[in-house]
C-alpha cells in the first residue's frame, strides 16, 4: 500500500474513532460504575446522595478522573489486558514446545509477517517478559496502591492527583509502542517484533535485523526494537512519577492519627518499593536512551571499543535486581496484610516485617552482579556479590517465618484470599530456596541459562506475586464493587492455579537440572543427556500452562459476572470485627454504605466466603 492510501485510511480511522467517542459520550445512561453499584442515575456522587457531582458521567469520567480510586481501577483494567497479551504469548510458546521441532510458530509466522518460526518464538518470548514485568506487574501493584494507600493512611487523595492521572495515561501509548513490532510486521518486511529478550543485551539489541541476522547499516536494523525501547522509556517515566507521588503521599498526607508507628504494612512496602523505583527506573531509562543512541546515532556506549556489553549488563542489572523487589515487596505487603485477617490474630512480629522490608530495599542494590557470574567479571567482585546475595535470603526468611508463626495456632478460615496467601507462602519458599542455590557461584555456573533459572523466577513471579495479586483481588473485591464473587468458581480458580503453577514450574526446575537450556524454540538438536525425560517434562509444563489458562478464564468470568450480578455485601463482609482484626479501609466502606443506603435500600443478607 502506498503512503497516501495509508493516510486516507488513518483519516478514516480517526473519523471513526471520533464517532465512537461521541457515541459513548452521548450514551450517558450506559452502565456508569458506582462503587456500590446501586444508584445508577448517570451522575456519580461521592458519599452518596449529595446535590451535585464531582465527576462527569460516561466515558468522560474515566478520561478526566483524578480520583485515586478510579485511577486504581484504570490501572487494574490495563494490567489485566496486558496480562492477557503476555499470557497468550506464552501459551503459543508452550504449544510450540510440546514437540522438539518447530511447528506451531512456523505455521503462525507467515500470517503474522514474521520471517520464520524461531523469530516469532523469540518475539513472543521478548514480548511475554517485557509485558508481564512492565505492563502487568508494576501496573497491577499500582492498582492496589492507588486504591488503598490513601484510604489506609487516611488521606483525601494522593499528594498529586493530576500527576497520578498522567502517570496512568502514559501507559497505554507505552504499551502500543512496546507491542508495535507485532502491529507493523504484517505490513512492512523490514520490521518484526523485537527479538532482544527482556534483558535487551547488546549487541543483540543494537544490531539485529527483522530476519534475526546482524545488520550492517542503520537502515537494516529492526525498528521493532527501537519502538519497544521508546515504549519502555515512556512506561518507566510513568512508574517514576508514580513513585514520586507515593513518597510524597506517605510522607506528607498521612492523617492526624496515622503516625509512623501506626503505618500499615502494605503502605510500608509501597514506600520501600517507591524508593527502589526512584533510584532504579531512571537509570534504566538512561540505559535505554543510550541503547537508542547507539542504534541510531553511532555513539559508543555499549560497543566493544566503548563500554561494551558488560557495562550494559551492570547498568541493566543495577535496575533489574531491584526490579525483582519492586515487584515482590508490595505482594509481600498484601500477604502480610491479608493473611492475619483470616488467622484471627495480628501479624506476628510486625516490626521485624517492616525492618526486613527496609533491609531488602537497601540490600537489593548490592546484589546485581549475581546475574553476571558467568560473564567473566573479576572473581573478587563475584565473591562479594555472592555474599550479599546469600545475605538477602535472611530478611526474606524472616518474613516467611513471620507468616507461618502468624498462622500457627491461629483461628484459620480457608477463604479464597487465605488460600492464595497460603499458596503464596508455599510457592515463595520453593522460589526462594531455588534462588539461594543460584546465588552460589559454582552452582550458578552449572545452572546458568537453563530452565532451572526460568523455573526459579516463575515460582516467585507467578507462584508468589500473582498469587498475592489474586489474594488481594478477592479480598478487596467487595470493597471495590460492593458485591461478593462466586465462591465455588474462586476456589476452582485457586486449585487449578496452584496445580498448574507447580506442574509447569517444577517441571522447569527438573528440566534445568537435566541441562535443558532456556530461550530456545526447538530442542531437536540435543543429542546428549536424558532426552526422553526432557521431552516428558516439556509436555508436563505445557499441560500446566494450559491448566493455568483455563483457571484464568474462570477467574475473569467470575470477576465480570460477579461485578454485574453478584450479591450485595454488608459493611463487614469478612466478619473481621468478630476477631478484632478489622481495618481502616472497611471502616471507610461502612461509612460509604451508610450514606448510600439513603438512596440504595437495604443490602441483602451479608454474603461471605467463610
Amino acid at each position: 500500500m502506498d503512503i497516501s492510501g495509508q493516510i486516507v485510511l488513518t483519516a478514516l480511522m480517526a473519523v471513526f474513532l471520533f464517532g465512537v467517542v461521541l457515541f459513548l459520550a452521548r450514551a450517558a445512561d450506559w452502565r456508569t460504575y458506582t462503587p456500590l453499584a446501586g444508584a445508577g442515575s448517570g451522575i456519580v456522587s461521592r458519599e452518596g446522595g449529595y446535590g451535585h457531582a464531582e465527576k462527569p458521567a460516561g466515558i468522560f469520567r474515566w478520561l478526566t478522573t483524578v480520583d485515586h480510586k478510579d485511577i486504581g481501577i484504570l490501572y487494574g483494567v490495563y494490567a489485566i489486558l496486558a496480562f492477557a497479551w503476555g499470557g497468550i504469548a506464552v501459551i503459543i510458546m508452550r504449544a510450540e514446545l510440546i514437540t522438539p521441532g518447530i511447528d506451531v510458530t512456523q505455521a503462525l509466522a507467515s500470517s503474522m509477517g514474521v520471517s520464520n518460526g524461531q523469530n516469532l518464538y523469540n518475539g513472543l518470548l521478548t514480548s511475554h517478559g517485557i509485558t508481564m514485568l512492565f505492563l502487568f506487574g508494576t501496573p497491577i501493584l499500582a492498582a492496589f496502591s492507588n486504591y488503598l494507600v490513601p484510604l489506609l493512611i487516611d488521606a483525601d487523595d494522593m499528594a498529586f492527583p493530576r500527576i497520578n492521572a498522567i502517570a496512568f495515561w502514559m501507559l497505554p501509548p507505552g504499551a502500543v509502542l512496546i507491542w508495535a513490532g507485532f502491529f507493523i510486521a504484517p505490513f512492512v518486511d523490514s520490521v518484526a517484533p523485537s527479538m532482544a529478550s527482556w534483558t535487551m543485551y547488546p549487541p543483540q539489541s543494537t544490531a539485529q535485523t527483522a530476519q534475526g541476522g546482524a545488520a550492517s547499516t542503520i537502515s537494516q536494523l529492526n525498528a521493532g526494537t527501537d519502538l519497544m525501547l521508546l515504549g519502555l522509556h515512556l512506561t518507566g517515566v510513568s512508574a517514576t512519577m508514580g513513585a514520586i507521588n507515593f513518597i510524597a503521599t506517605i510522607f506528607a498526607e498521612r492523617g492526624p492519627d496515622v503516625g509512623w508507628d501506626k503505618l500499615d504494612i502494605f503502605s510500608w512496602t509501597i514506600l520501600t518499593q517507591s524508593a527502589l523505583i526512584l533510584f532504579s527506573f531512571p537509570l534504566l531509562g538512561s540505559a535505554l536512551v543510550m541503547l537508542l543512541l547507539d542504534r541510531n546515532f553511532a555513539t559508543t556506549f555499549f560497543t566493544t571499543d566503548g563500554g561494551g556489553t558488560i557495562l550494559y549488563q551492570h547498568l541493566f542489572w543495577f535496575f533489574g535486581h531491584p526490579e525483582v523487589y519492586i515487584l515482590v515487596l508490595p505482594p509481600m505487603g498484601i500477604i502480610s496484610y491479608v493473611l492475619p485477617r483470616f488467622s484471627g490474630r495480628k501479624l506476628f512480629g510486625f516490626k521485624f516485617v517492616v525492618y526486613s522490608t527496609l533491609a531488602i530495599g537497601v540490600l537489593s542494590f548490592g546484589v546485581w552482579a549475581h546475574h553476571m557470574f558467568s560473564t567473566g567479571i573479576d572473581p573478587r567482585i563475584r565473591a562479594s556479590f555472592m555474599a550479599v546475595s546469600l545475605a538477602i535470603a535472611i530478611p526474606s526468611a524472616v518474613k516467611t517465618f513471620n507468616w507461618i508463626t502468624t498462622m500457627w495456632n491461629g483461628k484459620i478460615r480457608l477463604t479464597t484470599p487465605m488460600l492464595f496467601c497460603i499458596g503464596f507462602v508455599g510457592n515463595f519458599i520453593i522460589g526462594g530456596v531455588t534462588g539461594v542455590f543460584l546465588a552460589s557461584i559454582p552452582v550458578d555456573l552449572i545452572l546458568h541459562d537453563t530452565y532451572y533459572v526460568v523455573g526459579h523466577f516463575h515460582y516467585v513471579i507467578m507462584g508468589a506475586i500473582a498469587f498475592a495479586v489474586f489474594a488481594g483481588v478477592y479480598y478487596w473485591f467487595p470493597l471495590v464493587t460492593g458485591r461478593m464473587y462466586q465462591v465455588t468458581l474462586a476456589k476452582a480458580h485457586f486449585w487449578l492455579t496452584m496445580v498448574g503453577t507447580n506442574l509447569t514450574f517444577f517441571a522447569m526446575i527438573l528440566m534445568g537440572y537435566a541441562g535443558m537450556p532456556r530461550r530456545y524454540a526447538t530442542y531437536n538438536l540435543i543429542t546428549v543427556g536424558p532426552i526422553d525425560f526432557i521431552q516428558l517434562l516439556h509436555v508436563l509444563a505445557t499441560v500446566g500452562a494450559f491448566i493455568l489458562l483455563v483457571a484464568q478464564i474462570i477467574w475473569l468470568w467470575n470477576m465480570v459476572q460477579s461485578y454485574l450480578e453478584g450479591p450485595r455485601v454488608g459493611p463487614d463482609p469478612w466478619n473481621l470485627e468478630e476477631d478484632g482484626v478489622d481495618s481502616r479501609e472497611w471502616d471507610w466502606f461502612e461509612d460509604r454504605l451508610d450514606t448510600a443506603l439513603t438512596d440504595g435500600g437495604e443490602p441483602e443478607d451479608a454474603e461471605t466466603d467463610a
Binding site: 493530576r162 492521572a165 497505554p172 525498528a223 514520586i244 538512561s286 555513539t299 556506549f301 557495562l311 547498568l315
Partner: protein, 284 residues
C-alpha cells in the same frame, strides 16, 4: 470555588481539581489526559523518526506528528499549571500542608535525577579506567566563565528567595531576573562551546579526529545537563512572570523554593561535571 465550599463540611475532604476543565466538578480534569496524549505523541514522533531513518515513513508524517504532539503537550501542561497553581492564587490562602508535599515531591524527583545522571557518569568512569583515546582541549576560559555564571546564579536565586521571605519584593524580582539572565547566558555559552567543538575543532560524534568513546560520554553528559539547565530556565521564567504579575509573598513561596532546589541541584551536577570531565579527562 463553589464545589470546594459545599464540601467544606464533608469530613474536611478537599477536592483536588475544583478549577479545572471540565468545569463544575471537583475530581475531574482534562489536563493530565491532554498532556499524556501529547507526551505519548512525542514518543510516537521519536518512533516515526526511527521509521524515517529506516525508509518506512516519509519525513512529513514525522514532522507533523512531532509538532502536533509537542503543541498538545504544551497546551496540557499550561492548562494544568494554570488551573492548579496560578488562577485564584490568593484565594487559596497559605497552606503549609500543600507546601510540605510539594517539597517532598521535589526532593523525590531530584533523587530520581541522581539515577538519571549516574548512568552517563558510570559510562564515563567505565571507559576512563582504560584508555579513552585522544581528547580535545577542554578546559579554557569559556568553562571558567560559565562555571562562575552558574555558581553566581545559585547565589542570586537563594538571595531572591530570602528577600521574598523578608518582604523585600523589589529585590526578590530583581535577583530572580538576574538568575534568569545568568542561566540564559550559560546556555548561550554552552551552545557556543558546542559550535566551536563541532565546527572548528572537529570534535563531534561520527567524525574521527578525536576519540568517539570520549565524545559519546562528553556529549551525553553535557547534553543531558544542558537540557536540565534549559528546563530550569523555563521554570525560573514561569516563576519570574508570576512574580511580575504580583504573585508570591513571605507566606506563599512554595514554587520559589522548589525551583530553587532544582536550580541548586543542576548547579552541583555542573561542578561535578567540570571536575571529572573538563579537568579530569586530560589527566593522565
Amino acid at each position: 470555588m463553589t464545589v470546594a465550599e459545599e464540601s467544606g463540611d464533608d469530613h474536611g475532604h478537599h477536592l483536588p481539581a475544583v478549577e479545572d476543565w471540565p468545569r463544575g466538578f471537583g475530581e475531574a480534569s482534562w489536563w493530565p489526559f491532554v498532556a499524556a496524549l501529547g507526551a505519548g505523541g512525542i514518543y510516537l514522533g521519536a518512533a516515526l523518526y526511527v521509521l524515517v531513518s529506516r525508509n518506512i515513513v516519509s519525513y512529513g508524517v514525522f514532522a507533523g506528528a512531532a509538532i502536533l504532539s509537542t503543541l498538545l503537550f504544551l497546551v496540557g501542561l499550561f492548562g494544568w499549571l494554570y488551573h492548579a497553581f496560578i488562577v485564584s492564587f490568593w484565594e487559596r490562602g497559605a497552606d503549609e500542608h500543600s507546601a510540605h508535599k510539594l517539597r517532598w515531591g521535589m526532593v523525590a524527583f531530584l533523587g530520581s535525577e541522581v539515577a538519571t545522571f549516574s548512568a552517563g557518569f558510570v559510562y564515563y568512569f567505565f571507559v576512563r579506567v582504560g584508555d579513552v583515546g585522544e581528547v580535545p582541549h577542554l578546559f579554557g576560559s569559556l568553562v571558567i566563565v560559565n562555571t562562575a555564571l552558574l555558581v553566581a546564579s545559585s547565589f542570586t536565586i537563594h538571595f531572591a528567595h530570602t528577600s521574598l521571605l523578608k518582604g523585600n519584593r523589589k529585590r526578590f524580582i530583581g535577583l530572580l531576573g538576574a538568575t534568569l539572565v545568568l542561566g540564559l547566558v550559560f546556555i548561550a555559552g554552552q551552545v557556543y562551546e558546542y559550535y566551536e567543538f563541532i565546527v572548528h575543532e572537529g570534535f563531534a560524534l561520527g567524525s574521527g579526529e578525536f576519540s568517539q568513546v570520549f565524545a559519546s560520554g562528553f556529549y551525553a553528559l553535557t547534553g543531558l545537563h544542558g537540557l536540565h539547565v534549559s528546563l530550569g530556565a523555563v521554570l525560573i521564567g514561569i516563576v519570574f512572570v508570576r512574580a511580575l504579575r504580583g504573585q508570591y509573598s513571605a507566606e506563599r513561596h512554595v514554587s520559589v523554593s522548589t525551583v530553587s532546589m532544582y536550580w541548586h541541584f543542576v548547579d552541583i551536577v555542573w561542578i561535578f561535571l567540570v571536575v571529572v570531565l573538563y579537568v579530569g579527562a586530560p589527566v593522565a
